[in-house]
């Protein structure tokens, strides 16, 4: 508890993900509350229920991943402190209690902070549903027990579980990534390929047409993300850029491929999921519009859900990406100091960081796009006649620029800040 008070800054990222997670979960679960009010008609109730169910599930998963990622970074940064405590006589159980306890406290604060925004968000969400005619105008928003309890419970459980996992991961170090990981990766790739191919079994007007390619793209991106370190190494083997900064960047990346895998993973997932979902939705909407039909309530629900899910994923992945990049870059203060003492100007150090960020971005976008295409192409072949939908270009450009801005922006801004410490002190600080 005291350690939280001493360094509130360190827990900011965790707090932010807990807060966002709790807010989203509460917002959507308040739809359950709203649906449960007396006098709500069946169609409205169903819309509200689906929205709450789907996004609630997604939200739980994302909170878990985001909190786990920020906490892993946090625990790793504090490895020295934890080691000190261990030497001072703290048992592993005590350390566990401390870290998990801290996570729970942060989660509680995050959930408490999220209540008011979630009430407002729930009202807004209901208005969106009402404007699109999915929910009757007469329904009033209600923020009740389900929203509150589920929000707090999910956030707490996810945080505690994530803290547990983070501690284990840090203590174990990197031992058992090997076989289980590549098995999972190949499994995800195979399942993704099957899902994407099964798109062809559907007819153009099937309501569920969008599901297989979307799952395919997601599974493929998970598979590629799991293989991220190997992919990165493969690409780096072929790179031979000129200039001292580029030379150093490639060597750094080759050595740190394992550590950077997390960042690459977020990038691949982000690119694949958002590009695939948004493109398919755009194709679907255009196809419906072209045929002159009016969308059914179900289709509209699906559209709203797609947009919200992608929105949530974008926000979370951005938080994760920014947090882990920030931590990874801050952690390198000493290395930057050494480069400067060896005769690198601050500009050259920034050049190294920039080059590394660029390689990461390009590799992440490349494989993310491949996974997305694997889902999009079958979908458009069945739904329309084109192989590549023209809608993809705009979506992809937006996704790519967000990804690139987050990656390059965070690492360069952090490196700039780190470089403000004089080189001699930066080297001495952790020596």
């Amino acid at each position: 508890m005291r350690s939280v008070r001493q360094r509130p800054g360190r827990f900011l990222a965790t707090l932010l993900s807990a807060f966002l997670g709790a807010a989203i979960i509460m917002t959507f679960n308040s739809m359950h509350d709203t649906a449960g009010e007396p006098g709500v008609d069946a169609v409205s109730s169903e819309t509200l229920g689906t929205a709450a169910g789907v996004v609630g599930g997604y939200g739980t998963l994302l909170v878990f991943f985001a909190v786990a990622s920020t906490l892993t970074v946090n625990v790793r940064q504090r490895a020295a402190e934890l080691e000190l405590l261990r030497c001072a006589g703290a048992t592993p159980a005590q350390l566990k209690r401390m870290v998990v306890g801290e996570a729970v406290v942060v989660a509680l604060v995050g959930a408490a902070l999220a209540i008011v925004p979630a009430m407002l968000g729930g009202r807004l969400l209901l208005e969106v549903f009402q404007d699109s005619g999915q929910v009757a105008e007469s329904v009033d928003h209600s923020f009740g027990v389900i929203a509150l309890m589920s929000g707090i419970h999910v956030t707490l459980l996810a945080s505690a579980g994530a803290a547990f996992l983070a501690l284990r991961r840090v203590r174990r170090g990197r031992q058992r990534h090997g076989r289980a990981r590549s098995f999972l990766a190949w499994g995800a790739l195979a399942a993704g390929a099957v899902a994407a191919c099964s798109t062809f079994a559907f007819s153009a007007t099937d309501g569920a047409l969008m599901a297989p390619p979307a799952y395919g793209a997601i599974l493929l991106s998970v598979g590629l993300a799991l293989m991220a370190p190997r992919l990165l190494k493969g690409v780096l083997g072929r790179l031979a850029p000129g200039g001292a900064s580029g030379w150093l960047a490639v060597r750094n990346l080759r050595r740190r491929a394992g550590e950077l895998a997390g960042i690459l993973m977020s990038l691949i997932l982000f690119t694949a999921v958002s590009t695939a979902t948004l493109t398919m939705q755009a194709v679907e909407s255009d196809a419906v519009a072209a045929s002159g039909q009016v969308k059914s309530v179900d289709a509209k629900n699906l559209e709203t859900l797609n947009f919200t899910v992608v929105g949530i994923i974008v926000v979370f992945v951005c938080v994760m990406l920014v947090n882990s990049l920030y931590a990874a870059t801050t952690y390198r203060a000493r290395e930057f100091g050494q480069q400067r003492l060896a005769g690198a100007t601050p500009g050259q150090v920034l050049g190294v960081v920039g080059a590394e960020g660029l390689v990461l971005t390009v590799v992440g976008l490349l494989f993310g796009t491949l996974a997305a295409l694997a889902g999009i192409v079958p979908f458009t072949l069945v739904r329309g006649d084109a192989v590549l939908p023209e809608q993809m270009a705009g979506v992809w450009a937006a996704v790519a620029s967000i990804g690139a801005a987050a990656t390059l922006g965070t690492s360069l801004a952090t490196a700039r800040r780190v470089l403000r410490t004089p080189a001699v002190r930066a080297v001495a600080a952790t020596a």
Partner: protein, 261 residues
């Protein structure tokens, strides 16, 4: 009838100074809590000399080295390396000034973990955009006894070996002055002896100028002369030092502060 108008090159002149400090002052902190680390230090070191700087903790040794090496800027005073004055400017300018003029050897080696021995050695050349002469780098690494370890990474080497890589890296740019900050501080006595001998060779064989900060009288005895520092001021000088004489002098440094300057 015609006299050769060219005067002897400054750098090769007999009394050429590799390093000159004039009334260098540096203090840390602000107003009330300001600590004067260097208090008007003036000194000159001839080229091709090996000088040790000694003094108790907090005497300003490290500050002296950092100001002289262009890692830090003094509050007032002049620093001249190889006849060129170190003027103000951003870190980038200081870095460019240091390249080619100054080499470093640190207590903590400061090798980059991601690079091999050979890559670490040529890094300063790469960063300065100079031609990388791999054969020369290998020669230097062989000279420091690491010819068979070119592809190793720093974490596969012992402390003494790492420090020898650092010395090779400092030599490869052929700098005028090599600054060594407690180069043997983290080493066992045998490795320390090897490292000190290499620094000596850098002076004797390669004609470099070495300035070494240390608190170890044995290390200081490898130098041609020892400068003593106390409370930010020069407190005496000892030529052709022996470890015992240095230790003796160091023990009485407190008494001699007033008399020494």
């Amino acid at each position: 009838m015609f006299r050769n108008g060219a005067r002897p090159d400054h750098a090769t002149g007999p009394a050429a100074e590799a390093l000159r400090l004039v009334k260098v002052t540096k203090s840390y902190g602000t107003a009330d809590s300001a600590v004067t680390a260097l208090d008007g230090v003036t000194l000159g070191l001839a080229q091709g000399t090996f000088t040790a700087v000694m003094g108790p903790s907090g005497s300003g040794k490290s500050t002296l080295l950092q100001c002289a090496a262009g890692l830090d800027r003094p509050d007032s005073g002049i620093v001249r390396v190889d006849g060129t004055e170190l003027t103000g400017g951003g870190e980038a300018e200081l870095t460019k000034f240091r390249r080619g003029r100054i080499g470093f050897v640190f207590q903590q080696y400061n090798l980059l973990e991601t690079l091999t021995v050979a890559q670490n050695t040529v890094l300063p050349l790469k960063l300065a955009g100079r031609r990388v002469d791999r054969r020369r780098a290998r020669e230097i690494l062989t000279a420091v006894g690491l010819g068979d370890r070119l592809g190793h990474r720093p974490d596969q080497l012992s402390g003494g070996q790492r420090q020898r890589v650092a010395i090779a890296r400092a030599l490869v740019t052929e700098p005028r002055v090599i600054f060594a900050d407690e180069p043997t501080g983290a080493l066992d006595t045998r490795s320390a002896r090897e490292v000190l001998t290499l620094l000596q060779q850098a002076v004797r064989v390669h004609g470099r100028t070495v300035v070494m900060v240390t608190h170890d009288p044995v290390a200081a005895s490898y130098a041609d002369s020892v400068l003593f520092l106390a409370d930010g001021r020069l407190a005496g000088r000892l030529d052709a030092p022996t470890a015992d004489a240095v230790a003796e002098r160091l023990a009485h440094l407190g008494d001699s502060v007033t008399a020494g300057v």
